[in-house]
């Protein structure tokens, strides 16, 4: 044993290249430490610290982005972590989302027993987990990130101790998440058994050299199937979506916004890493599965959303239908996975994730405002006549809903256009047409919410709706971004075009 320790040589670590991740983790640890040792900080300071940390991490990621575009992608820590624009794009996305969610959480937590550093530290930890998932170049590292993200999310979902529903939501998510993680881990084990490695770079080489096309390797394919289950759960694709409505509805609104943005983005990044980057060899095996998942998610998500009466549940189902759209992009990427010309599927998914994250956080911010006013009620009735009481909020909400419906001049149109164009590019017409049909159906849901907001008179209780400054700024910022990216999306499209130059 001792001899082994003597000969162990740690991998060479380019610390600066890891700085965005380090910033997030260090921020979380510092907040916990300082928060425990010092008396209560003044109002808003915890959130500010959290947002600053995320902002720093995001800025560092942008610095790394420059480095990558100049010197090309590479791997770090002995090939365990990929250092490419793909991971940096997701890092920036996650950091932006954390900033927005922290601003929402600030007011939400005031006056509750949770008004301390813990929630913010958990946000940062979850974010760090997401970053690891997106940058992993090794399935074990990816699993590590997945668990870091998930464990933090379980706690966050259950964090509202005054609400039974929040607790229920947390425990449901925890049990099912654990179940899905087991599938995922088993999948990794099987793939390891088939290829002899968990490292993505080595796996690609091993598959190309050893597997013979005539007799598909059952071990590896079973592994792929189990990986698909784990990933399908995380991205909330039908039929693995079953937890989503309950958990979204029960969790505190800022946490729901966080799940719909950060968790979804990280899960899709992981899905692209595993399927498109690590397993292009089996693309003809996993692509039909993705096709079916996309189809089911699109249809179930949009159709079931129509009959919901609770806005949070509607948005939960709509997030399932958005997952369907993203899967259309993944399916498109599957056609050309591993080829020299990687197609536009990956870029389209990345673009969709960025645009969707912002609009969904904006939507949940409005839900948060209304729900607090209505004493925790998020049913559609609580939104009646919102335009009369808060025209600005109603306008922003309309922008988010139009964007989710994919109306031009909003970012949602650019997002949907991207994935469908990617699908058409590789002749996947059927799924592209189905996606557009489901968009038509889903438009009804958004219209219903909009109509409730703009028509009808508010209930008798005429107390003014309070919009805290931070929440207002979040909503305004998200709305401006949604419109801006819808009108001038070129810069974002250019950025996402580079993610296909991934490291492996």
């Amino acid at each position: 044993m001792l001899a082994q320790v003597d000969t162990f040589v740690g991998p060479e670590v380019n610390w600066f290249a890891l700085s965005p991740l380090i910033a997030l983790v260090a921020g979380a640890l510092l907040m916990m430490l300082a928060g425990a040792l010092t008396p209560r900080w003044p109002n808003g300071l915890y959130a500010l610290a959290c947002a600053t940390t995320a902002g720093t991490a995001g800025a560092l990621a942008m610095v790394q982005w420059d480095d990558i575009t100049d010197n090309g992608p590479t791997t770090l820590v002995a090939g365990a972590v990929a250092f490419d624009t793909f991971s940096m794009f997701v890092t920036i996305l996650i950091c932006v989302s954390i900033i927005l969610v922290a601003m929402l959480a600030d007011d939400y937590l005031r006056g509750t027993p949770n008004d301390g550093p813990e929630i913010y530290a958990l946000l940062l930890t979850a974010g760090a987990g997401g970053v690891v998932m997106a940058s992993a170049n090794d399935l074990i590292v990816l699993f590590l990130g997945l668990e870091t993200l998930s464990l933090a999310l379980y706690v966050l979902a259950a964090s509202n101790r005054r609400s039974n529903r929040s607790g229920e939501s947390g425990i449901k998510y925890f049990v099912l998440g654990g179940f899905a993680s087991a599938f995922f881990l088993y999948g990794i084990a099987l793939v390891y058994g088939a290829t002899g490695t968990t490292n993505i770079s080595e796996m690609v080489v091993a598959l190309q050299n050893t597997v013979d096309l005539e007799t598909p390797d059952g071990l590896a394919l079973a592994g792929v199937a189990l990986l698909l289950v784990g990933l399908g759960f995380k991205v909330a694709a039908v039929p693995f979506h079953i937890w989503t409505p309950d958990v979204y509805q029960g969790a505190p609104s800022p946490v729901t916004a966080f799940m719909a943005s950060v968790a979804k983005a990280a899960a899709f990044a992981a899905m692209l890493r595993v399927l498109v980057i690590a397993l292009p060899f089996y693309r003809d095996d996993w692509r039909p599965v993705i096709w079916v998942l996309a189809l089911l998610s699109l249809l179930v998500g949009s159709v079931v959303a129509v009959v919901q009466t609770d806005v949070k549940r509607m948005l939960a189902y709509s997030s399932i239908s958005h997952a369907g759209f993203l899967l259309v992009g993944v399916e498109a990427a599957g056609h050309t996975a591993g080829e020299l010309d990687p197609g536009s599927g990956m870029s389209a998914v990345m673009l969709y994730l960025m645009l969707y994250s912002v609009m969904v956080i904006g939507s949940f911010a409005v839900v948060l405002v209304v729900q607090r006013h209505a004493g925790g009620d998020s049913s559609i009735e609580a939104f009646r006549g919102l335009s009369m009481r808060r025209p600005a909020i109603a306008t922003a909400f309309t922008v988010f809903l139009l964007a989710q419906a994919g109306v031009p001049f909003t970012s949602g149109f650019i997002a949907k256009f991207g994935v469908i164009q990617a699908a058409v590019d590789v002749d996947s017409y059927a799924i592209a047409v189905i996606a557009m049909v489901s968009a038509v159906i889903a438009a009804f849901v958004y219209l219903r919410i909009m109509l409730t907001v703009w028509t009808g008179t508010p209930a008798e209780n005429s107390e003014p709706i309070r919009v805290p400054l931070a929440v207002g700024v979040t909503i305004a910022g998200a709305a401006v971004f949604t419109l801006f990216a819808g009108i001038i999306p070129g810069w974002l499209i250019d950025a996402t075009d580079t993610v296909t130059q991934y490291a492996r």
Binding site: V224, L226, F233, F240, V307, Q421, V440, L447, T455
Partner: protein
């Protein structure tokens, strides 16, 4: 000059932004005059470009102005670019010209409305979107305007949100249009997949040079036809338009008569080379969609009692003529009829608005009558519009309708008959409307005595009068106009000048717009003939049908005579029935109810349609509760002891996930043979 084409949408956009920021401060009526000014500014720019083009040789009358690259997605490069050519400039001229007049009218009509500036904000946004639609250099920019006008229409129809009917109508318009929009989006992706570009020039060039296959052209044309049936309110998607009349009347005039609803026709004319290279049945289908809609909607208009509903169905019918023209290869006639229709239908709607305004928000024609004495200017203008739509020479509608019928006959006889019968019915129902509203007895007099009479703003005085009058003065004999003091409240009045001026201008246009494209008949001097055809020539030369050698063309005199005879029959019949009362009116309820088309759809969407959606939701739940239960029954048995402390739900959820995993594995086993 043409490089300034971006100014045309820029002015209304500026108007929108200014009103958005300072609308309330500008207030009533400055906000309205400002908005109207912005639209007229666009008109001036369009006119300047028109004269600039006139001075150039025909092949130079085109300019593409690129603002910036909007969507650089891989090979697909979509620019935010405008195309100034004879077609788009002609469209801009009438959209901005008539739009500006309607803005002016609205200043008077909306006076005193608490949301006055908001109304003009929407109107300017609409004009902006509409100019984007017609000026777009590619399908995507057009689609942007397409969605924009749809959204504005939806906002303006539900402008008076408090009216439940208005909110429902807005919803219906939105949903129906989404179906059409879906067709346009599919067409875009198909165009991209086959031609690799969304630009009109690229698409039309590909069609003209034979690079585009017949299949692709057929697909694109049929999908765009679906879009056109949604936006232009044709069968099977027409039913939103009559309900959209719940919006304020200037909106009906601008959006649901003159401009937006012709968007579908414009789009089809724009891609006329693609239609030409599509399979032969494509133009035939287009023509029949238009012809059947023209007749179908005209029959419904026969039995409507709401003054605006008649005009709404007549709009559907008239757009049917335009689509019929497109299908017969008469693209010039389609645009010609679009322009004349825009002027006379805007006039009719504004006239109806003036009547409604003067009648204190009464819309039932059976409660009007004899109004020509009280609203002479409105009546005179309205009658000019009526003569134009009925097709009485020499008013504008006569010329354009004749042109459409000529090409329809050259194409096929059934199409011609559809159009001709629709023309008789049009003359009939419009005569009926004019008689009911402006001639005959004054039926509104009795309103004072109806306790339930709908009054927009009952002043204490009038309410008191109505109640006290009830016992002793309840015998209005009609005929002689007597206005007792109390009845004075209900006396119709002429509208203010700001509403009348646009009426007079539009009446002038409706009477004379025929000179745009006079046929080679009646010894009309050659240089005055077919001006519009000459102007549009570079845009439509590939698609326009050549009928010079057809029987119809050689016997055009006969057709004209037949058309005039038909109009005379329609007018005469209506005169006998409604003015002379010689014949009992025939207004069956199935016509009044629009052949029950709408209510059947509503029933389906409310009944089985909604049930279908509910069923999917139920199945989702059922799956979760029962199917999963069933498959997971073994798990349940073994977990029986642990069950007490659990909610049960989570276990089912886990079963669901397990089931999904099994299915994926099963798929790999069965189809990929992993065992």
């Amino acid at each position: 000059m043409a490089e300034l084409v971006w100014l045309i949408p820029a002015f209304p956009l500026l108007g929108f932004l200014v009103l958005l920021l300072f609308g309330r401060r500008l207030g009533d009526p400055i906000a309205g005059y400002f908005a109207a000014g912005m639209v007229f500014a666009s008109f001036v720019v369009a006119a300047a470009i028109y004269f600039d083009f006139l001075g150039k040789p025909e092949e130079d009358r085109e300019e593409v102005v690129t603002l910036f690259s909007w969507l650089p997605v891989g090979e697909l490069q979509v620019d935010l670019a405008f195309l100034a050519d004879p077609l788009s400039i002609a469209m801009c001229l009438f959209v901005c010209g008539i739009g500006g007049l309607i803005h002016l009218f609205a200043i008077g009509y909306m006076q005193g409305d608490p949301k006055f500036s908001k109304f003009f904000l929407y109107l300017n946004l609409f004009v902006f979107s509409m100019t984007l639609l017609v000026l777009g250099e590619n399908l995507l920019v057009t689609f942007l305007g397409w969605e924009g006008v749809g959204t504005c229409s939806y906002l303006l129809v539900s402008f008076w949100h408090t009216r439940e009917e208005a909110a429902t109508a807005g919803k219906k318009a939105f949903i129906t249009n989404r179906v059409g929009d879906w067709g346009v989006m599919l067409a875009m992706f198909l165009a991209f997949a086959t031609v690799g570009s969304l630009s009109y020039n690229a698409l039309n060039d590909a069609a003209e040079s034979g690079l585009m296959s017949g299949v692709a052209a057929t697909g694109i044309a049929m999908l765009l036809l679906l879009g056109a049936t949604g936006k232009s309110a044709q069968l099977p998607l027409y039913f939103w338009l009559p309900d959209a009349m719940a919006g304020p009347t200037p909106v009906s005039a601008l959006i649901h008569a003159a401009t937006m609803v012709t968007g579908g026709v414009f789009l089809l004319v724009r891609i006329n080379p693609v239609i030409t290279v599509a399979y032969d049945w494509v133009p035939t289908t287009i023509a029949y969609v238009g012809g059947i809609t023209a007749l179908f909607a005209a029959t419904i208009a026969l039995a409507q009692n709401d003054i605006k509903k008649v005009l709404a169905y007549s709009t559907v019918s008239q757009i049917g003529y335009m689509i019929l023209a497109v299908g017969s290869g008469a693209y010039v006639a389609a645009i010609f009829h679009m322009i004349t229709h825009a002027s006379f239908k805007a006039l009719l709607f504004l006239g109806a608005g003036s009547v409604i305004h003067g009648m204190h928000d009464e819309q039932d024609m059976h409660k009007m009558g004899g109004l020509r004495k009280y609203m002479p200017v409105t009546a005179a203008c309205y009658i000019i519009g009526y003569l134009a739509i009925a097709g009485v020479p020499p008013f504008s509608g006569f010329w354009s309708k004749d042109e459409v019928l000529l090409y329809a006959l050259a194409d096929s006889v059934p199409l011609y008959l559809l159009g001709l019968i629709a023309a008789i019915i049009t003359a009939f129902y419009m005569t009926r409307q004019v008689i009911l509203v402006f001639f005959g007895e004054a039926k509104w007099e009795s309103r004072a005595n109806e306790a339930e009479a709908p009054e927009p703003e009952p002043t204490p005085q009038s309410v008191g009068a109505a109640v006290s009058d009830d016992p002793d003065e309840a015998a209005p004999d009609g005929g002689a106009v007597t206005t007792h003091g109390a009845h004075g409240e209900f006396k119709p009045h002429e509208s203010p000048p700001v509403m009348l001026i646009p009426l007079v201008v539009l009446a002038f246009l409706a009477a004379t717009a025929g000179v745009l494209n006079l046929p080679a008949l009646f010894g009309i001097p050659t240089r005055s003939q077919l001006k519009l055809e000459e102007w549009l020539h570079p845009v439509i030369e590939f698609g326009e049908a050549d009928i010079k050698s057809s029987w119809a063309y050689e016997n055009e005199y006969l057709l004209v005579a037949l058309a005039i005879a038909c109009v005379a029959v329609g007018i005469g019949l209506a005169w006998l029935i409604y003015s002379q009362k010689r014949i009992k009116p025939w207004e069956p309820s199935f016509l009044a109810n629009g052949w029950y088309y709408d209510s059947t759809i509503a029933k389906f969407m409310g009944g089985p349609g909604r049930a279908g959606f509910q069923a999917v939701a139920d199945v989702d739940r059922l799956y979760d509760r029962h199917v999963v239960d069933g498959t997971a029954i073994g798990v349940r048995e073994t977990a029986g002891q642990l069950r007490k402390g659990q909610t049960g739900n989570v276990r089912q959820y886990a079963g669901f996930i397990g089931l999904g995993a099994l299915l994926i594995l099963a798929w790999l086993v069965v189809f990929r043979g992993i065992l």
